[in-house]
């Protein structure tokens, strides 16, 4: 590979000069929410908060699919995975997410066949190889995993598989933005929209939100310079009293997004109300399988209707996910709750706010 970098997203000089621009124009404290957990991770990892002027406050958003998959669905996953004759396949991060009583790792330790897959098509392959077993894939995620999860259903259909189903917990970003902005306790004044969600969906859904709530929305990537650029564009708008939708990640994102992927998503999924862990129900914030694909719905195949989930009483992840509190405000943070022994889902994935603070807080102080 050629080592010929011209402009670069890691160029400290570029980052510093952008930060200086922000310093010059900022006259007021502003609360900016980065939606995506990947961005939260980058902000903590590179200490971006420390190089920005103190007027910029990052409020960490709910964009970590591992964190917001409802406890009820995690409990359902655990129950299905514990059933006889089942191979339960999942993205790796979900295995340590605490359910009411245990996690998927402990199901595996107790003899359950729980497998980590890289792609949902790997789960389809497992189903082909094991016709005598029920294979269930935990279809979690935002709009970024939906094209893959939807295709696994179409592929199972093409192959005529009778032993494949998915446990769907899809969540969508725009309804969550509306819920955050509509909350009486909202403090968010601008959004950095999640770059890879927009790679799939485009950003045509955002202008109505920006107009209705008078809020700048800047589509933002994941490298340090991307995030600084997103902040810069947001601050310029805030200082000028504007509310536009801007794209600071145009090398990856277009207005219309990936049209082929959106078509398949709509073919397989339809909008539904969705419970978010720690936040509660958000109307029309999820996708479920359309009726014509119901035979691939694990909730139809397994009797998991009557589950009563129980969250740890110490965990304040819900308030953290809504930007009302920071991980340091939790009495369990770093004491009883650690990435090895997480009480809440935000301590599990490295994109969860609690885990990101745990991992990088030493560098910050």
């Amino acid at each position: 590979m050629e080592l010929n970098l011209k402009s670069s997203f890691r160029d400290v000089g570029l980052i510093q000069s952008r930060v200086n621009e922000i310093r010059k124009i900022i006259s007021h404290p502003w609360a900016i929410m980065e939606i995506c957990g990947g961005q939260t991770h980058a902000i903590m990892k590179y200490g971006l908060k420390q190089i920005l002027p103190p007027e910029v406050e990052f409020i960490h958003g709910p964009g970590c699919p591992v964190c917001v998959t409802s406890l009820e669905l995690v409990d359902k996953a655990i129950q299905i995975a514990s059933s006889p004759n089942v191979i339960f396949a999942s993205y790796g991060d979900m295995l340590r997410v605490p359910g009411s009583k245990q996690d998927l790792f402990s199901v595996r330790a107790n003899g359950g066949d729980v497998r980590v897959v890289y792609s949902p098509l790997d789960a389809v392959k497992i189903a082909v190889k094991n016709p005598e077993k029920e294979v269930v894939f935990f279809a979690i995620g935002f709009e970024t995993t939906a094209p893959a999860n939807a295709m696994s259903v179409l592929q199972a259909d093409t192959l005529g598989l009778k032993n494949f189903s998915i446990l769907v917990s899809h969540v969508c970003v725009p309804p969550a933005m509306r819920a955050i902005l509509g909350s009486p306790s909202n403090r968010v004044q601008a959004f950095l929209a999640a770059g890879h969600v927009c790679a799939v969906m485009g950003y045509w859904e955002y202008p109505p939100i920006s107009a209705e709530f008078h809020i700048p929305i800047v589509v933002t990537g994941f490298e340090p310079l991307d995030i600084i650029e997103g902040v810069y564009k947001a601050v310029v708008q805030l200082e000028n009293g504007e509310n536009q939708v801007e794209n600071a990640y145009s090398r990856v994102v277009t207005l219309e997004g990936n049209v082929a992927a959106q078509k398949v998503i709509r073919k397989v999924f339809e909008t539904c109300d969705r419970k978010w862990r720690g936040i509660g129900n958000i109307p029309e914030s999820g996708w479920r399988l359309r009726q014509e694909w119901e035979q691939y719905d694990a909730e139809n195949r397994f009797d998991v209707k009557s589950i009563e989930p129980q969250e740890s009483p110490l965990c304040i992840a819900g308030e953290i996910l809504q930007g009302l509190k920071k991980p340091f405000d939790c009495s369990a943070f770093e004491t009883v709750c650690t990435p090895e022994n997480p009480l809440g889902a935000t301590m599990v994935s490295s994109e969860g706010a609690c885990a990101a603070y745990f991992q990088y807080s030493f560098k910050q102080s």
Partner: protein, 85 residues
């Protein structure tokens, strides 16, 4: 979870009716589904997430991001230094 990794398409084929490809991530090669980038050709760079190409990206951009992923350690050091100075 929503981070995509850029790679170069080095082979394209069909499997059970799906357009698939071999993707080179700067040395490591993996299979990915190319159904969502129907225009993709060998030599194109693409952003891969959970085994699917989400879109095509420019070569220059892909190489920069791959370099970044390889040099992330240096980067945090550089920024920390900058901060201290």
């Amino acid at each position: 979870m929503c981070l995509g990794v850029p790679g170069k398409i080095v082979e394209i084929y069909e499997n059970n009716g799906l357009k698939m490809g071999k993707i080179d991530f700067g040395g490591v090669t993996r299979e990915a589904c190319l159904e969502y980038v129907p225009e993709a050709q060998i030599g194109d760079y693409t952003l891969i997430h959970v085994g699917f190409a989400l879109n095509l990206i420019s070569e220059e951009e892909a190489i920069e991001t791959l370099q970044l992923l390889n040099q992330i350690a240096d980067l945090s050091e550089e920024i920390t230094q900058e901060k201290i100075e």
